[in-house]
């Protein structure tokens, strides 16, 4: 083995010797760590932007028709005359909030940033398999993001047909929709390249001894995620192309015969099918929601194992569950389409698969809960966010069950119940996991530690207010309040009793925004002035902590290739002197 190590070290990358110019090192970098950080900051910025859009919407929902204070006058006459949001602008904000949060915020953060930074380190690889492609992925993402942002300045503004872009509405929408499609094509291409890269990296570049069942759960989660991206995204790619053709060239793939728009017969050939779009869209978008959650599972697994100081409960069954979850996620998509005229046979199929897919989720969540048993739990900031994730994902997941039963979905479909369901999984769920990841790996990335005090000031209000935003949504949804309503339901008699909640949710959302200030301060302050910490600050077992310095070496990560001798979570093993046994064997040799 040592010969191999020797040989690889011998081939040291030329970059180790020549200092790279600034643009090679930080802008068009091919180092997975720099690319990961680029992804991270870009994605955080988009998250903040998506949140900002939502804060404006929440104003309109709480105080319909009142001018938005401060920002209102800046939005322009076309969008918000006198600071009052117009419905067309509200719809743009809604569609772009969804798109930005999903495709430009969470996925790039969860996969692009954490995946990129951590996966090669955890498997003991010097970099991703294809560094140039990695760079291309990031830049395609950046271009796609710019197109999305630019679309706000298109005539008629940004896309306004929801993030789902259902035709015919999207087919006849203003130009922003074309920009949306173009932007999506870039993002899709970026994700496809990224996914390919991850898969090759994980399959090919595992260090000696790193067998499949010694992979940290985070790597497994990223592995399955990449498969989802690779095989599901092409369906949206195809759909986006077809919609693009409909809008630009005048085909009618999604337009049936005899449409009458505002009293005029639409001059198209017709013969298309609006439901075709929905099939293609959800063929992607359902796996996509697992793309949002699996990396979060991965992060939570790492943080929980580390901070309970004991092995994860049922690591193997978790791995089988996550693989099964990934597979099944291709089989449930039409649970978003129960009300499109679905017959008994197909609806039974999709109801069954939907309930089946809840089982592996339950197994994983139960494993997290049971992992706490017998632990010695350290309540540091990453752990708080990881622990916060558990019940929040639980609520989100549980509320998926009534939606998965078609008969119950009759009442709940397209109401705020759905909004509540998925925000519980993505916001206090995934976003909390992302925060856990940031606090957890920050010392690895910078060699410095984030402030625990500010971290706690970040966590507790966030936890409180995020529930204040999303819990009332179930109540509204059960009353039958529809989503995507410009005035939050003012028009409707059946919404009246639940209207007062709009203000509660909005105030919570703004407080949630304020609660992020300590985080932003903490992030930048710790970057500059954080306390220096040891390489393995959390006394962790996985390779990124136990075998690499903090920060890891540019372009090669490790001083020499680690050799893996055991599973990922050997904490508090009875025979070990320490509370942790690193995955690589060197520590053992040193001890011997």
């Amino acid at each position: 083995m040592s010969a191999l190590v020797e040989e690889r070290v011998g081939h040291a990358h030329p970059a180790d010797h020549h200092p790279e110019p600034f643009w090679r090192k930080y802008i068009f970098s091919q180092d997975h760590k720099v690319i990961g950080i680029q992804y991270g900051f870009t994605a955080l910025a988009f998250l903040l932007f998506g949140f900002a859009l939502m804060m404006m919407m929440r104003w309109q929902l709480a105080y319909p028709g009142k001018p938005i204070p401060l920002v209102g006058p800046l939005l322009g006459q076309n969008n918000a005359p006198g600071g009052i949001l117009l419905p067309e602008f509200y719809n743009q904000l809604g569609a772009m909030h969804g798109t930005i949060m999903v495709f430009l915020g969470i996925v790039p953060l969860a996969v692009g940033a954490f995946g990129n930074y951590v996966v090669p380190l955890q498997i003991g690889a010097p970099d991703m398999a294809f560094p140039k492609l990695n760079m291309a992925s990031y830049w395609l993402y950046a271009v796609g993001g710019l197109i999305m942002l630019g679309s706000f300045f298109a005539p008629g503004g940004a896309a306004n047909s929801g993030w789902t872009s259902y035709p015919p509405l999207a087919d006849i929408a203003t130009q922003g929709q074309t920009w949306w499609l173009a932007g999506m094509l870039f993002l899709i291409f970026s994700s496809l390249l990224g996914a390919t890269n991850f898969l090759v990296t994980i399959i090919q570049l595992r260090a000696p001894g790193m067998t499949w069942f010694r992979l940290p759960f985070f790597v497994w989660a990223q592995f399955v995620t990449s498969f989802l991206l690779l095989l599901a995204f092409p369906a949206l790619q195809a759909a986006a192309m077809l919609q693009f053709m409909d809008r630009v060239v005048g085909t009618s793939f999604f337009l049936p015969q005899g449409l009458v728009i505002s009293g005029k017969v639409l001059e198209v050939a017709g013969g298309g099918s609006p439901l075709l779009w929905q099939h293609l869209f959800w063929f992607l978008a359902h796996p996509e929601v697992y793309v949002l959650i699996l990396p979060a599972f991965g992060i939570v697994a790492e943080v929980i194992a580390n901070n309970t100081r004991k092995p994860l409960y049922g690591y193997r069954s978790m791995v089988y569950s996550v693989v099964f979850l990934g597979f099944m996620s291709f089989l449930v998509w039409a649970h978003h389409m129960f009300l499109t005229g679905m017959g008994t046979v197909i609806s039974s199929f999709f109801q069954t698969t939907t309930l089946i897919i809840s089982i592996p989720s339950i197994i994983i969540l139960s494993a997290f809960f049971l992992s706490l048993w017998g632990g010695s739990i350290r309540f540091n900031t990453p752990m708080l966010f990881a622990l916060g994730f558990l019940p929040m994902f639980g609520i989100g997941g549980l509320t998926g069950l009534p939606l998965g039963l078609a008969a119950a979905d009759i009442h709940l479909h397209d109401t705020y119940y759905v909004i509540g369901h998925f925000h519980y999984v993505v916001a206090p769920g995934t976003i909390f996991a992302m925060f856990a990841g940031i606090y957890y790996w920050f010392p690895k990335i910078t060699g410095k530690k984030m402030s625990e005090l500010l971290g706690k000031i970040h966590f507790w209000p966030s936890f409180l207010f995020i529930n204040g935003v999303f819990l009332p949504m179930f109540w509204q949804g059960l009353a039958g309040v529809s989503r995507r309503l410009y005035d939050g339901g003012q028009q409707y008699a059946h919404a009246q009793d639940a209207l007062w909640l709009n203000e509660v949710m909005s105030v919570s959302a703004w407080c949630l925004g304020l609660a992020q200030i300590p985080f932003v301060i903490n992030l930048f302050w710790s970057l500059a002035k954080g306390k220096r910490v040891a390489d393995n600050h959390w006394e962790a077992t996985t390779l990124e902590w136990s075998a690499a310095p903090s920060p890891p070496l540019p372009h090669r990560n490790f001083h020499h290739v680690p050799t893996v001798v055991r599973g990922p979570y050997e904490y508090s093993a009875p025979e070990a002197p320490d509370t942790y046994l690193p995955q690589n064997g060197e520590a053992d040799e040193k001890a011997a």
Binding site: R8, V9, H11, A12, H13, A125, P126, D127, A129, F130, P131, L192, A195, T196, N197, L199, V200, I203, Q204, L205, L230, L231, A232, F233, P234, A235, Q237, A238, A239, M241, L242, M245, V249, G250, T251, S252, F253, V268, A269, G271, G272, S273, L276, H279, L280, F283, H555, R556, N557, F558, V561
Partner: protein
């Protein structure tokens, strides 16, 4: 530290990185064209009537194009085999032919398209023509992409041969896999669009 298995195969998988990479990418391409085929089938079965390809399209030209693409696939695989046999000049010849065949294909396609436009057949005319232009257009883009890659390996990219022949042969194998896939897609497009 260099990235392992860029040239030699990893023992347990038996693959070098780029080969696994291209197959993964092709898997996503299968899903892309699969989604479009699926759209085609759904639109066709939902349509009241559907024209036969021959009502609009020129079968002899398309047959010619099929032959051209098949031939280019052979020259492509021969160029790789020549490298394996260490015959760089043959490689150049075969690769050059492959790129030329790509041009031939596009030229024929150009005549096909302009003939359609001359008859005022546009993508917007009906769903059949819409899907015809979309599928062949996307396939055409793939051909162009392949030609750029192949052209690069025929020209400036071939310098690698002298430095690292093994690695160069791998690259040609990978480029070949992509090119054959483009051929394979056409093999399905041809009957679905023209003959049925």
């Amino acid at each position: 530290m260099q990235i392992p298995y860029t040239v030699e195969a990893r023992p347990d998988t038996g693959l070098y990185n780029a080969k696994l990479g291209i197959w993964l990418f092709l898997a996503s391409e299968v899903m892309l064209f699969g989604a479009l085929f699926s759209s085609y089938v759904l639109l066709r079965t939902g349509a009241e009537s559907w024209p036969r390809g021959s009502e609009y399209l020129n079968i002899p030209l398309a047959t010619l194009n099929t032959m051209i693409l098949i031939a280019s696939s052979v020259t492509m695989v021969m160029s790789w085999a020549s490298l394996k046999l260490g015959d760089f000049r043959k490689y150049k010849l075969y690769m050059g032919l492959t790129v030329l065949a790509g041009f031939g294909f596009l030229i024929v396609k150009y005549f096909e398209y302009t003939a359609k436009f001359a008859h005022h057949y546009y993508p917007s005319t009906n769903t059949f023509l819409g899907i015809y232009f979309t599928l062949t257009g996307l396939h055409g883009l793939h051909v162009i992409g392949g030609m750029i890659v192949n052209g690069y390996f025929w020209g400036p990219g071939s310098k690698l041969w002298r430095r690292d022949p093994e690695r160069f042969a791998n690259r040609i194998e990978v480029a070949g896999l992509y090119w054959h896939f483009v051929d394979l897609v056409w093999i399905f497009l041809f009957p679905t669009l023209y003959l049925l």
